[in-house]
């Protein structure tokens, strides 16, 4: 029968492997995208330099790892260093743009991304670096030895995002941040130091990008152009999930990553990207506010 043949044509084992792959990639993407959507939703800043912060985080990770040999220390230090860098970038380049058209922040962050990317090329050279995995256990998934590390990344990403959510929901400073989102002028009037809150938000977003860079480093090489792919994907996710919507971007990350994983069973990974582009177009056509937000009345 035709249906039997069709069912046989679907490779079930591959489908399952790609499901796991998709969820793992989706959680990392969610970590990158939630930093991006945090910065956008709270500050109205489209951070073009986000991919470069991701890449620089991975490089700081490489440096600390070669110096100390401790992966977890590298993760923490990279996060802190890039968060500081993010705060610096915000104070120097973005604070003067406060109150101007949000589009000017695109221009400024685009300039920053060019500078950072070429700085990395200059400083670290074009040869990709490798981050050693902190542990190298495997479990068997059909015919594959699937590294535990990948699952650990997914869980860690989820934990970081969960911590961010709890912080925003219950922490004192989290409440400051949410107040600033809702009404900047009113927040200022209530004594919240709005410019400092914005700097802190940018630093948190940058730190999250760096953390995902270090976590993702062992899976691919670390090189100066690795940020570009991620920032594009993160933009797709943020638009599909609804800009400034944390839950939406997580759902969209997993959705897009799963889609690309499944697609890459049949086409090359470079072409699988087109599927997420198509999702983006369909989203814009039918639900321009984002797939994973309630329908606006």
């Amino acid at each position: 029968m035709a249906i039997d043949q069709l069912l046989q044509a679907i490779p079930l084992d591959q489908l399952l492997i790609q499901t796991v792959n998709g969820i793992v990639a989706g959680m990392i993407l969610a970590l990158v995208a939630s930093g991006l959507t945090l910065i956008f939703g709270i500050m109205d800043v489209v951070n073009f330099a986000h991919g470069e912060l991701f890449m620089l985080g991975a490089y700081v990770g490489v440096i600390v790892l070669t110096a100390t040999g401790n992966f977890w220390l590298a993760l923490v230090i990279a996060t802190l260093v890039i968060a500081l860098l993010g705060a610096g970038i915000h104070v120097v380049a973005l604070r003067p743009l406060l109150g101007r058209d949000p589009l000017t922040t695109i221009l400024a962050t685009f300039g920053i991304s060019l500078v950072l990317q070429n700085y990395a090329l200059w400083q670290f050279g074009p040869v990709a670096r490798k981050i050693q995995e902190p542990f190298s256990g495997y479990f068997t998934l059909f015919y594959l030895d699937y590294p535990w590390y990948r699952l650990v990344i997914a869980l860690l990403s989820a934990a970081i995002i969960g911590a961010l959510w709890l912080f925003l929901k219950f922490g004192t400073y989290g409440i400051w941040i949410r107040a600033t989102t809702q009404d900047r002028v009113m927040a200022q009037a209530m004594g919240i130091p709005v410019p400092q809150v914005l700097t802190a938000v940018f630093a948190i977003g940058a730190g999250m990008a760096a953390a995902s860079g270090v976590l993702f480093g062992p899976l691919v090489g670390v090189n100066h152009a690795m940020g570009v792919d991620w920032v594009l994907k993160a933009f797709i996710v943020v638009v599909v999930g609804g800009m400034g919507n944390l839950g939406g971007s997580i759902a969209a990350s997993i959705f897009i990553s799963l889609l690309e994983s499944y697609a890459s069973i049949w086409v090359s990974p470079a072409q699988a990207v087109i599927f997420s582009f198509v999702v983006l177009i369909l989203t814009l056509l039918f639900r321009p506010t984002g797939l994973f937000v309630p329908t606006p009345k």
């Binding site: 956008f40 949000p102 589009l103 920053i112 582009f277």
Partner: protein
């Protein structure tokens, strides 16, 4: 809009044009080609100024129109034998217009930042297609082809020299400038500017804002495609790098550096950027984007009007 002002404007215009016509006779070969290249990038930047400066929509997708212009021209030049100049224009413009129509239809549903991101993603779609469709586009290696002769069928046919190529490009760019200037001063252009100033009010007055935006994106894409055709004729190769979004980013940089909403500003911005690149790449080699990027950031913060922003009013009369 006094007569005296207009006379002054056209006098400056003629003086600059005369300088540009005379330039290839005085310049050495390298700077002659450099100037031609500035004009081509300037045309690309000018086409995007119609969106950025006049309609208030920042497009990060102009590389798609530019690239399709290049690849369209490439297709014509590879198919026709001997390579035909006018077929290159026809193919390049049709390809760019088709892409522009497609992109315009979807992207104009969104505003501000969302428009910028959408156009960016669209240009990446075309990048991925061109990059992976190796049989047709040559993939990563791109296509090389021969330069067509400057020919009018039945009249004459002479091969391009670097001087005649410069004059040809100059003629196309000048004509495009005059057409774009006319467009921005027409009632249609006034509606675009009113969309930039206050979209809601423009809609309330009764203008179909979406339709105006679609036409604006298509016009802009058409002129970007024209720049692509010229670029293909000058450099005789097509590569997927020209479709990559970094090219669009550079186009936006040209606009901001030169001054948006002036049409000539973007050409000046392109010249400024390319000169900076030329100057810095002698000291910083391929890392010239570090100092150029820093200058760009400083200009965004301290000089948002760009180099020619102070002339904005007088240039638009």
């Amino acid at each position: 809009m006094t007569a005296r002002h207009l006379v002054g404007y056209w006098m400056v215009f003629s003086a600059v044009l005369a300088l540009l016509i005379a330039a290839p006779l005085a310049l050495p070969e390298f700077w002659r080609q450099f100037l031609t290249e500035i004009l081509i990038w300037g045309l690309l930047a000018m086409s995007s100024d119609l969106l950025i400066g006049y309609t208030g929509m920042v497009s990060f997708g102009h590389s798609a129109f530019f690239g399709l212009g290049i690849y369209g021209a490439a297709a014509a030049l590879l198919w026709t034998s001997p390579p035909n100049l006018w077929m290159a224009f026809l193919f390049g413009l049709v390809a760019a217009a088709a892409v522009a129509a497609f992109v315009a239809y979807f992207s104009t549903r969104l505003r501000d930042i969302y428009f910028a991101i959408t156009t960016l993603i669209f240009s990446q779609i075309f990048y991925v297609i061109i990059f992976t469709w190796t049989e047709v586009t040559g993939g990563e290696n791109g296509l090389t082809f021969r330069r067509p002769a400057l020919a009018v069928p039945g009249l004459f046919s002479v091969p391009f020299t670097s001087e005649t190529l410069h004059w040809f490009v100059l003629a196309v760019v000048t004509l495009s400038y005059l057409v774009l200037r006319r467009i921005t001063q027409s009632p249609f252009g006034m509606v675009l500017q009113s969309i930039r100033e206050n979209e809601a009010r423009t809609r309330a007055i009764g203008y179909p804002v979406e339709r105006y935006k679609i036409v604006a994106v298509m016009l802009s894409g058409l002129f970007a495609g024209l720049a692509g055709v010229l670029y293909a004729i000058q450099n005789r190769f097509a590569a997927p790098d020209f479709v990559f979004f970094l090219v669009s980013g550079e186009v936006v940089i040209f606009n901001v550096m030169g001054g948006i909403g002036t049409l000539v500003g973007p050409i000046v911005g392109a010249a400024f950027f390319l000169l900076l690149r030329e100057g810095f790449s002698r000291f910083f080699t391929e890392y010239y984007l570090i100092p150029v990027g820093l200058i760009f950031i400083a200009m965004v913060i301290f000089m948002p009007q760009g180099l020619l922003g102070f002339m904005r009013r007088s240039l638009n009369r």
